[in-house]
Amino acid sequence: MNFRRTALRVALFITCYNDTLFPETGKAAVRVLERLGHTVEFPSGQTCCGQMHWNTGYQAEALPLVRRFVEQFRDAEAVVVPSSSCVAMMRDHYPLMAGELHDEALKRDLNVLLPKVWEFSEFLTKKLGLEDVGASYPHKVTYHASCHGLRNLGLGDGPIQLLKSVRGIELIPIEGLEQCCGFGGTFAVKNADVSAAMLADKTKAVIDTGAEICTACDNSCLMHIEGGLHRQRTGVRTLHLAEILAGEER
């Protein structure tokens, strides 16, 4: 396979919860990007996009994180983020937040920087124009379309095309693809009962596919679904899309 094209300097924004709870996703993203001939940088001052604070109503805590992101990633050729909801946060809310800060320079910086920010799967499909990234993963897999990827980023069937090109994979569609899993950040704690009811519908749909693995472009949904699947001792696991695309023939 020939992946030779202009090699990019990719700055990875791992996001706070992937960094802490899902390092394997980051490693997999690095493996895929390097396999495709790009170099990966990790601006070490990065922390969090501010989504949790912003979505929960703690605006004052979220606002400084916009400047922090711009400072850390200003010089990147491309910023890749393995979390659809964090990308949605930046794309949909950062310009608004710069307005709240009455910071014209920040607004200009965002205008330049945000078009270079890509969710991991859309970087592959839209920026690089790839569907086959040379992966092999001989397992039964079902794909969960995270709400922010589906509605805010308009990922469409990009992730599904990537998965279809994986060697050995058996991709099984899930019933109610567009239904939220019930995570919603602090919603899962503040409205735990409703969230659990939504999760019960989702885990049932996952189990009904007969898949071994449920994948998505967002570990926050997967952490939620995984939590339910594990509590019910189903044996079904969850795995970020990057980790499937990092799979290689042995």
């Binding site: 109503g57 994180l65 709400c147 995570f183 899962a188 009962d193 969230s195 009811a197 999760l199």
Partner: protein
């Protein structure tokens, strides 16, 4: 036959009310079934329109314009309505609106009034006020009749009895109409309601209606409905009293071209409603002899004054967001403690009722965005929810509120995220602190305090021993070593 009205001022917080609804499995089955049916129909008729997105954009712009010049359009409506023989009354709030309607109904000399479904009258608890004045209000919309006879509360803005199954409705009719026999089929139920209501239409001399739209250009009022019972109310009685929120105004008659394509498709999944009534003032030898319109503010101008909350008023009450909402679909409408349930209720109620009364509603959403996707006038409901959450937090963290556990946790996390070294230290600290909670297989099955909500139905895997950034650091160091 009074019933306890849905009142955000006294209703329990959403999570608590939702818990009650979640235990009602029959209700959840009914809600899921009904919303599935409507959504499927909606998708079919929306899919027929290749220009659906343009229609939505047109709808949005019409509503945006109408509300930006609301004062002028309302006065234009008043002039044109009065020129055609109607009387226009202005009500600052619910109390004034109730007083005006009760006075008009009393002056008409009626001990009974027939009503066509109106969420605005539900909003102001009009039926209770009428009853207190000795006037019996009879709901004539089939769903509202079911609600009234069952001493229940509406749970949906378009399909108020959506939470009831046909068998439950049959039980209510048998009991409340004093029937000996009644079939199981929808046609049997409709026939029973028709017989019950027909007598009322032919005898009651005063009607009360809501309005879907007010047309400024012509002074007309527009109502769309499925059963024709509204048409009966609008044409048979001597006196017609229409009550409408001031947000219902449209500039031109031609705007109905867009709205009457968006509304039925979004609301009931129909290309057109079976009954579309548009009337202008009075007509000789036809229809009512007296026609009043009560234009009610009731905090709508406060909503209008907030640039970020304003779009809430673009709502044309189709209920599509309710049918699409995964939260509403689990709980049904009563958990929202307001006649306006679901996503639109979660943003409308806190703004109409002052925040203190509805602080939990902006959080009754996972922000999945399904509501925004289906909204025919493109109200960005998730964005407004976040805006209102910010207002709630500002209220809750005033004074000693700064010390509530959530506010403190958020503040600390904010400080952590503002510094790389603090973030690294917090990651290390978290790994050490969670140890007592982690079982042998590396999972956490119980968490304390607020976080306990998570572990009531979900496990959490323990933090890995190395963060991503620690791995990346080590890798770089190794690379440099090789170089």
């Amino acid at each position: 036959m009074s019933r306890i009205p849905l009142d955000p001022a006294t209703a329990p917080a959403f999570p608590k009310a939702a818990k009650v609804s979640l235990h009602d499995l029959q209700l959840r089955r009914n809600v899921k079934h009904a919303t599935n049916v409507i959504q499927t129909k909606r998708q079919r008729v929306v899919g027929e329109r290749p220009d659906w997105q343009q229609l939505r954009e047109a709808g949005r712009q019409i509503r945006e314009h109408a509300l930006a010049y609301m004062d002028e359009y309302l006065e234009q409506f008043e002039r044109n309505c009065e020129a055609a023989g109607g009387h226009v009354h202005w009500a600052r709030d619910a109390e004034e609106a109730r007083q005006i309607v009760v006075r008009l109904a009393t002056e008409a000399g009626s001990r009974e009034v027939v009503k066509i479904k109106s969420m605005t009258t539900e909003e102001i608890h009009l039926n209770n006020a009428l009853e207190a004045a000795g006037i019996n209000a009879i709901e004539t919309d089939l769903a509202e009749l079911i609600i009234q006879l069952g001493q229940d509360q509406p749970s949906h803005i378009v399909v108020p009895a959506l939470h009831k199954s046909r068998h439950e409705i049959r039980e209510i009719f048998l009991r409340e109409m004093g029937l000996k026999h009644l079939g199981e089929e929808p046609a049997d139920l409709a026939e029973a309601a028709r017989t019950y209501l027909r007598k009322k239409f032919l005898t009651v001399q005063t009607a009360i209606s809501g309005a879907n739209f007010l047309i400024a250009e012509t002074g007309s009022v527009c109502i769309v409905e499925s059963e024709g019972n509204g048409r009966m109310c609008l044409t048979l009685p001597q006196t017609l009293i229409t009550i409408a929120g001031i947000d219902k105004v449209l500039p031109r008659f031609q705007d109905l071209e867009v709205m009457l394509q968006l509304l039925p498709r979004s609301a009931t999944g129909e290309r057109m409603n079976p009954y579309n009534s548009i009337w202008t003032g009075l007509h000789e030898n036809d229809g009512p002899r007296n026609f009043h319109v009560v234009l009610m503010d009731n905090a709508r101008t406060d909503v209008l004054a907030d640039p970020e909350g304003r779009q809430t008023l673009y709502c044309i009450r189709c209920g599509a967001c309710q049918n699409a909402c995964p939260v509403y679909r689990q709980t049904g409408g009563h958990a929202y403690g307001s006649v306006y349930a679901g996503p639109i209720g979660a943003i409308l109620t806190p703004q109409l009722q002052k925040m203190e009364h509805a602080q939990s509603l902006p959080y009754a959403s996972s922000l999945c965005g399904a509501c925004y996707e289906v909204c025919p006038v493109k109200i960005n409901i998730p964005e407004v929810l976040i805006h209102l959450r910010n207002k709630v937090v500002k209220q809750q963290t005033r004074g000693m509120g700064r010390l509530n556990p959530e506010a403190v946790a958020m503040k600390v996390l904010g400080m952590i995220f503002r510094s790389e070294s603090r973030f690294r230290a917090a990651q290390k600290f978290g790994r050490a602190a969670e140890k007592p909670l982690v079982n042998r297989e590396g999972w956490i099955g119980w968490l304390p305090g607020m976080l306990g909500g998570w572990t009531q139905a979900r496990d959490l895997h323990a933090m890995p021993q190395q963060t991503f950034r620690e791995w990346f650091d080590a890798r770089e160091k190794k690379d440099r070593g090789h170089a």
